[in-house]
Amino acid sequence: MATIQFNKVAHSYLRNPKGEFDYALKYINHSWDDGGAYALLGPSGCGKTTLLNIVSGLLIPSKGRVLYNDRDVTTLPPEKRNIAQVFQFPVLYDTMTVFNNLAFPLRNRGIPEEKVKKRALEVADLLDLTPFLNKRAAGLTADAKQKISLGRGLVRKDVSAILFDEPLTVIDPYLKWQLRRKLKEIHEQLKITFIYVTHDQVEAMTFADQVMVMNEGEILQVGTPQDLFENPEHTFVGYFIGSPGMNFILCTIEENKARFNGMQITLNEDLAERARTAKGKLELGIRPMYLEIHSQFLEGGIPGKIKTVEDQGTCKIVSLIVNDNILHARVSEGKPIPEKEAWLRFPPQRTKLFADGRLIQ
């Protein structure tokens, strides 16, 4: 078990990095508590895999220290860190049976066969692999193989953290649900530190108690799924979390109203006051789920034109044109949608403002 701490960690893949631009990871100062479920979320190239490789020891950072329970492990190789890893593609011995795959890491350490057997059976039971114990891994489905990969990490009782790098990529959607649930159950039971890297917001937020959103080598926000959704601290987080992402409109402030192209939207009094003194580019932001669309004229509403309606089955995504802006609204299945013209309402408690990309708190 371990608390993992990053002490001013930065990394560049170049031998002689010149400016900040040359760093894949810019400056990471953060710590993960023992037993938590954490996700690293961001687009390709954001630095999340670099950070994971620094945690596992596959990579030594150019700057800073990594501590496990206050012990400096920065230069320790992976095999000395008591961690297990589950990768995008299952890593196991195809020709061995499931049982032998699970037993292998223990036998390798010279543990008596009696104990090996007991532990392998326990882990197989935990992962619902018991019926397959005598089958060869080669013939099994991708999700079973991924469970074996995880099982090979779990058999070692002293494992301090399990690192997952996009583990569900090769799994069919209907099995992803089951595997995600299994991962959460196992985390609830074992309380080992789980660190999960993904570009998929649904996976990150479903899995983790705390999600770290990264972009261009920086941590933009760390928070619960609710925090990231309700109070994105950065426009990138607003865009990246939620599907579709948050709507943004460039605006100016007058009294308690946000103005753009001759339209005005009433804001919370407190927020408007803080915005009046904020510096930089001002943007109004609202989640598609909270943007209301009405078919009739609405006091305080603004007019828009319906561009497209996308049926996603469980909901509809309506694209609207308001001047030069395209806005999205997320409407529950079965709710009526106006034909052409609509009146949009921005509920003040759901309407956010950003100055130079940062949330005005």
């Binding site: 069919d172 609710q226 599907s243």
Partner: protein
């Protein structure tokens, strides 16, 4: 018959059935989705259409002409694969132009076509780069541009977005739909994801274990799955099933939940049924006076930002509840969940659909959503 026609297609490989009894017509200028789970036979079918493989039985016609034995080189077909395939040593420009050079197209026209296609896919600024200098999303755009530039009669895409980032997928999916709409080819697009199929629209062919299990307009099939299997393949999160029976005037879900036979349930004869409830039709809060209540135990609560996905148990049935908004639930808690009986799908004991909710409203949706020129010919 104009378009692409598959007649009694069968494909066996080493004695193993990959496809059987495939009869499909694809109209000119139509968008068609092949939806199915991994190994359902989608790629096998696509390869037959392309001429990369030959069927073991049956025939393939293009505009009435039998092309069953004609190789891919002699067909007007373009294909995009799940893995981005580009020539690594050629620039983006050359990659896109290569098929046109092979055709012997004049330089001026070729240049025009390459630039136009690149612009459509937002890669016009990358034309001088090598594929290795591009991100995954950009590489797949190049692969798609290479297929589009050929202006083939048949454009085949095999899970083209599967290897891309979540956000890239969201953007490219919307762009692709617009591109397909402007295209005068038969587009066939495979996916495992119900949401992707719905967003693209057009016609759908649902495939399972090498067979076509339903085809039609995409939203219509979604709202009227012919069998339990179709509903399973075409629901994400998974659709919930519960044992039910009709006894005289009432439908009983489980043993104890009594529902009047109103609306679409009217006229159900006595007997055993399976009730299908999509996860977004189960709610943690009561929505209307007619809602029926199920007592459940929470197994796990998952949150994805804007929605809560609650896994629950009702007696010995597992159910999934998808709710807009955030309502975390403690594991092991006993809670009620609610469903409006007017949204239930009813299947008979053989798994065939016997009643589905609100067909009239759904038909209206279909008319509004389906692009005019792309009506089904199936």
């Amino acid at each position: 018959m104009i378009g692409l026609k598959l007649e009694n297609i069968e494909k066996t490989v080493g004695g193993k059935m990959h496809l059987t009894g495939i009869n499909l017509n694809f109209a000119p200028d139509s968008l068609n989705i092949l939806l199915g789970r991994t190994l359902a036979g989608k790629t096998s079918l696509l390869r037959l259409m392309a001429g990369l493989d030959k069927p073991s039985k049956g025939r393939i016609f293009i505009n009435g002409k039998d092309v069953t034995g004609v190789s891919v080189r002699k067909r007007s077909v373009a294909m995009v694969y799940q893995q981005f395939i580009n020539y690594p040593s050629m620039t983006v420009y050359k990659n896109i132009a290569s098929a046109l050079i092979l055709k012997g197209m004049k330089k001026a026209e070729r240049d025009h076509r390459v630039r136009e296609t690149a612009k459509m896919l937002n890669i016009e600024k990358l034309l001088d780069r090598l594929p290795s200098e591009l991100s995954g999303g950009q590489q797949q755009r190049v692969a798609i541009a290479r297929a589009l530039v050929k202006e083939a009669h048949l454009l085949l895409l095999d899970e083209p977005l599967a290897n891309l980032d979540y956000k890239l997928r969201e953007g490219l999916r919307a762009e692709l739909r617009d591109i397909f709409e402007r295209r005068e080819s038969i587009v066939v697009y495979t996916t495992t994801e119900p949401t992707e199929a719905l967003m693209l629209g057009g016609n759908i062919v649902v495939i399972d274990e090498g067979r076509v299990i339903q085809s039609g307009l995409t939203p219509e099939v979604y709202h009227n799955p012919a069998t339990m299997k179709v509903a399973e393949v075409f629901s994400d999160p998974p659709i919930n099933y519960m044992d039910a029976s009709v006894n005289g005037k009432y439908l009983y879900i489980g043993k104890d939940i009594q529902v009047s036979l109103d609306g679409h349930l009217k006229g159900l004869s006595s007997g055993d049924y399976q009730v299908g409830i999509r996860s977004n039709h189960l709610f943690l809060k009561r929505k209307g006076a007619n809602d029926v209540e199920l007592k459940v135990r929470v197994e796990l609560s998952e949150i994805n930002g804007s929605q809560t996905i609650t896994h629950v148990h009702h007696k010995d049935t597992s159910l999934v509840v998808l709710d807009e908004g955030i309502y975390p639930q403690k594991i092991g808690r006993e809670i009620p969940v609610f469903v409006n009986p007017q949204v239930l799908f009813i299947f008979d004991s053989a798994g065939n659909l016997v009643a589905s909710p609100g067909k009239d409203r759904l038909r209206w949706d279909v008319l509004k959503l389906a692009p005019d020129k792309k009506t089904a010919h199936m």
